[in-house]
């Protein structure tokens, strides 16, 4: 791989990383509005407020960049980058077309799961460095949430890896058959639930529950750094949607997969992103103890059962 190719791939991933979260964000604006009987943004950019998030970005840039006097300043300033970059790295390992992925890794499923877990450190750093009790509480909640939901998520992914006999995302998609939709359905439900919880999206948004702890770990942030945290949330939706599409929906599989495979992957991921938005609109926030209960008493057994089912089917069919 030449230096030029590496640069091109990096630029392509960066472009996708900067464009897709905005697309998801704008979709959320509009879908959520219409689900609530509203119109959503209508002015920015002229046509149905398509440039609303651009305008928001301009606003964030103009805002004063505050650092609390009691804060651990270096950690405080560095935290948004820690929260944001893991999703960029994760995006580079996701295959979107037969043979097309920015970084070819032998065990990309493991890599992506590992790198997504790093993002939480940014939230922890933000909460701890803010010298604010709400921020600290939010960070602790985020950490507890990650701990409890990482396990079912890893179990669900390992079930798919077991079914495909491969730890590489591209290998999983290659092995995928349509009847996996039914076979891996419990795992898919577990993965989606755990993904929403990891993204701290409603109904699992206790770390930023505004009625309890202001805005959690991001309470003290303003301007561009706050925007980075928001961007990391939407980048997380993009990464999780792509992961779900690749692991459970067969990625590029579909009619004319040879030419339109990338379109299939993007379309499936986009549909999942809309589902994640839909869950936010439809459901209220869980309580912190209900969240833990759901993770340990429902999702983990369900994921273990899926693993058992996958293993049994493989043992019987001998593939």
């Amino acid at each position: 791989m030449t230096a030029l190719e590496v640069t091109l791939r990096a630029v392509a991933v960066l472009a996708a990383f900067l464009v897709l979260p905005l697309l998801v964000g704008q979709t959320e604006h509009k879908v959520m509005a219409h689900m609530q009987g509203r119109l959503g943004p209508m002015y920015a950019g002229g046509f149905h407020g398509w440039a609303q998030l651009v305008a928001d970005g301009v606003k964030f840039v103009q805002k004063e960049d505050l650092t609390p006097a009691a804060a651990d300043k270096r950690v405080f300033r560095f935290a948004p980058a820690i929260a944001l970059v893991p999703y960029l790295v994760a995006l580079s390992a996701i295959p979107i077309h037969p043979g097309v992925q920015a970084a070819t890794l032998p065990a990309s499923a493991v890599f992506v799961l590992a790198i997504i877990g790093v993002g939480i450190i940014g939230t922890l750093m933000a909460g701890w460095a803010s010298a604010n009790k709400y921020a600290l509480l939010g960070a602790m909640r985020a950490a507890a949430q990650l701990l409890s939901y990482e396990l079912p998520m890893v179990l669900a992914v390992s079930s798919v890896c077991l079914a495909a006999g491969s730890l590489s995302l591209a290998g999983i998609v290659t092995q995928w058959h349509w009847w996996w939709l039914a076979w891996q359905a419990p795992g898919a439900v577990v993965f989606l639930t755990a993904a929403v919880a990891e993204l701290q999206r409603p109904p699992f948004d206790m770390p930023v529950a505004d009625s309890e702890i202001v805005f959690g770990a991001y309470t003290e942030y303003t301007g561009l750094r706050f925007a980075f945290f928001l961007l990391s949330e939407y980048a997380g939706i993009v990464v999780m949607s792509f992961l779900f599409a690749v692991l459970f929906l067969g990625g590029w599989h579909g009619p004319y997969a040879g030419a339109l495979g990338w379109l299939w992957t993007v379309a499936k991921a986009f549909a999942i992103a809309i589902v994640i938005i839909w869950l936010r609109v439809a459901w209220p926030r869980l309580r912190e103890d209900q969240l833990q209960r759901l993770a340990w008493l429902v999702l983990v057994p369900l994921a273990l059962g899926q693993l058992l089912l996958t293993g049994a089917v493989i043992a019987v069919t001998g593939s």
């Binding site: 689900m35 609530q36 509203r38 839909w278 609109v281 439809a282």
Partner: protein, 232 residues
């Protein structure tokens, strides 16, 4: 747990159903709002009808109407006739920073000089600009909607009833004044003239008491007062 799954599915169904329906958003600055009839937006002044009688200014609960006027003498039109005077309106202003939109001024105006207009877009950057003088109040007149149609089976409007009344009888009481037809006592004095056909405005019970009844009632009241005094 049994009610949980139907519940969360119901939540999803509700939001999707809402998404397929038209939105409720009022795109106000772009689309005019649909106001109910008789909306109270602003008070319009029909200056020609105003006689500077000050009823509105005096009835206004928060004293937000300012009226200045002077009298002008109109010379007699016939030789030896009497000069007449009339009021000329110099200033009529409503301070909409004080107005509470009760509409009492409009109710009391005997000459229909004040009207409700549904226009409401007259916000100002300076509160002092909310005092609208008579030329500005007059500009709202074209925006006043026509009166709402009467309900079915309702009585005729007052002006229609007045114009449909049969002409007054020729024979009048001495002094040129028409008899007050509502008073039975007055009617008794002019028993010779034909009584008016109907008195639709007053039900029979509202007729005044007879002289004998009045005397009896007065003695009753006096008695009560005496008793009350003794009790104390």
């Amino acid at each position: 747990m049994s009610g949980l799954v139907p519940g969360i599915l119901k939540g999803l169904a509700t939001t999707v159903r809402t998404m397929t329906k038209p939105t409720h958003t009022a795109e106000y600055p772009d689309a005019a709002p649909e106001l109910p009839p008789r909306s109270r937006g602003v008070i319009a002044l029909l200056e020609e009808n105003c006689t500077s009688c000050m009823l509105c200014a005096r009835e206004c609960p928060d004293w937000c109407i300012y009226i200045d006027s002077h009298k002008e003498t109109i010379p007699a039109t016939t030789p030896g006739g009497r000069d007449r005077q009339r009021n000329v309106l110099d200033r009529f202003a409503i301070d909409f920073s004080l107005c509470m939109y009760c509409g009492i001024c409009i109710e009391v105006c005997p000459f229909d000089a004040l009207h409700w207009s549904p226009q409401f877009e007259y916000a100002e950057l300076d509160i002092r600009d909310l005092i609208q003088e008579k030329d500005r109040l007059g500009q709202w007149m074209p925006t006043v909607p026509p009166p709402v149609a009467l309900d079915e089976h309702s009585a005729d409007p007052a002006e229609l009833a007045a114009s449909n009344k049969p002409p007054r009888a020729a024979g009048l009481v001495a002094g040129g004044r028409p008899a007050r037809v509502a008073r039975p006592a007055a009617a008794a004095t002019t028993a010779a003239e034909p009584t008016p056909p109907v008195e639709p405005m007053l039900p029979p019970r509202r007729r005044g008491p007879s002289a004998a009844e009045l005397v009896a009632r007065a003695s009753d009241i006096a008695e009560q007062q005496e008793n009350g005094g003794e009790a104390r």
